[in-house]
Symmetry: C2
Subunit: 210 residues, 2 copies
DNA sequence: TAGATTGTTAATCGATTAACAATC
DNA sequence: TAGATTGTTAATCGATTAACAATC
């Protein structure tokens, strides 16, 4: 699977987008140096990343903020609204449903599902929890593009399998498992205990040198 | 800042640890091939990663699971219990406090702080929410090693600055901001809207080739 | 023009991987 | 011994970065 943009670049474009939101309050154009500072990277990196999106900066001036924003949005495919289904209505699933970043900027949580009958029918932030059995029709009817897995680890693989079978090609996995899936299915893993363990390493890394 | 292990390796060790937990139910030794399969990487990668930790596999046999577990735990600094303070007692902060991965495996949430007086005094999963003003004494007294920032974006930098000043060197940041900090402070960023935007890219990446 | 900043090159760096000798 | 699997090398791949000509 080769993509039109380097994966690392794709991961930084959202940072630039956020930086543009900040500078747009006071400026019309922005330099790669400013963006680099706000995104925590080098300016050469910014220029290279932006060149992939076909951006057009002006030498001696910088990038037009409005133009760049829409160019990045197009590159990331953010024009179309994207429907999200969250599986798992526990603490995390509920928090995610409430997360402002999910609602804003083209993403919309259209369904929350859980296997626990006690949770089915509950209202979370205006969305009624549905039975997990409804996953396939929900994906189909509501044209779900991204499934967020917020279940315990042992349920994650089965949910992923079903989602993939139903046509989903993008999964955001919060369960602490590495999901098996076909090559054309993209999975982003957000693993809190892994993050902690990585920080733990640095906390104790006595061999580190400045 | 140069570390004793490649950063990419550090990020994979937790996966191997989890895989070891799975295979330990049925086996005493494990091959790099098995670990690779469970972690979703190549076996050569596993062997290389493990070689950094000073592991000792046996040719023709594999790795002793118990030995490997403790070797990885040592490499990640997981022997000592690590105290965590969560800043922000909103939906996300509360969910994090309840997250099983935080409690288990050597990490312990010792404090939750919030600037909102209405939340101070509330009980979250057995921990009383404290006033954010208490951050410094809490870090000091409870020997907090990791601060988790679960505040809105506009509060994150200030919280980080104060935590760093109080001696914290590891931050897990859930706020959608790139934090400025000294070189010796490690920040892991978990950004849900960035994850979604990355998935959005792949969803629309028509130039992708198999 | 003088100053600023882009776009791109080429060098560098680091990480991945296939392959295989070593050896249990 | 024969089979399995490690540890490590060397090749490859991809990503970062300094540097600077181009040019607004």
């Amino acid at each position: 699977m080769k993509s039109s943009l380097p994966e690392a670049t794709v991961g930084r474009l959202p940072l630039y987008l956020r930086a543009l939101g900040i500078v747009s309050a006071t400026q019309v154009t922005v330099s790669s140096d400013q963006l680099a500072d706000l995104a925590g990277v080098k300016s050469a990196q910014v220029r290279k990343d932006l060149s992939y999106t076909g951006s057009h900066g002006v030498r001696g001036v910088g990038y037009d903020i409005a133009e760049l924003r829409s160019q990045i949005a197009v590159a990331l495919g953010l024009q179309a609204e994207c429907a999200i289904a969250i599986v798992g209505a526990g603490n995390l699933g509920s928090a995610l449903a409430n997360y402002p970043g999910f609602g804003g900027s083209g993403f919309k949580v259209v369904a929350i599902l859980d296997i626990d009958r006690a949770k089915v029918g509950q209202d979370i932030h205006g969305i009624t929890v549905q039975d997990l059995a409804e996953l396939e029709p929900v994906v189909d009817t509501l044209e779900v593009g991204i499934v967020v897995i917020a279940t315990p680890a042992d349920a994650a693989q089965e949910v992923a399998d079903r989602a993939v079978k139903a046509g989903v090609r993008s999964i955001l996995n919060f369960a602490p498992t590495v999901l098996k899936r076909p090559d054309d299915v993209h999975v982003r893993r957000v693993d809190l205990s892994t993050e902690l363990q990585i920080l733990s390493f640095h906390l104790h890394d006595l061999h580190a040198t400045a």
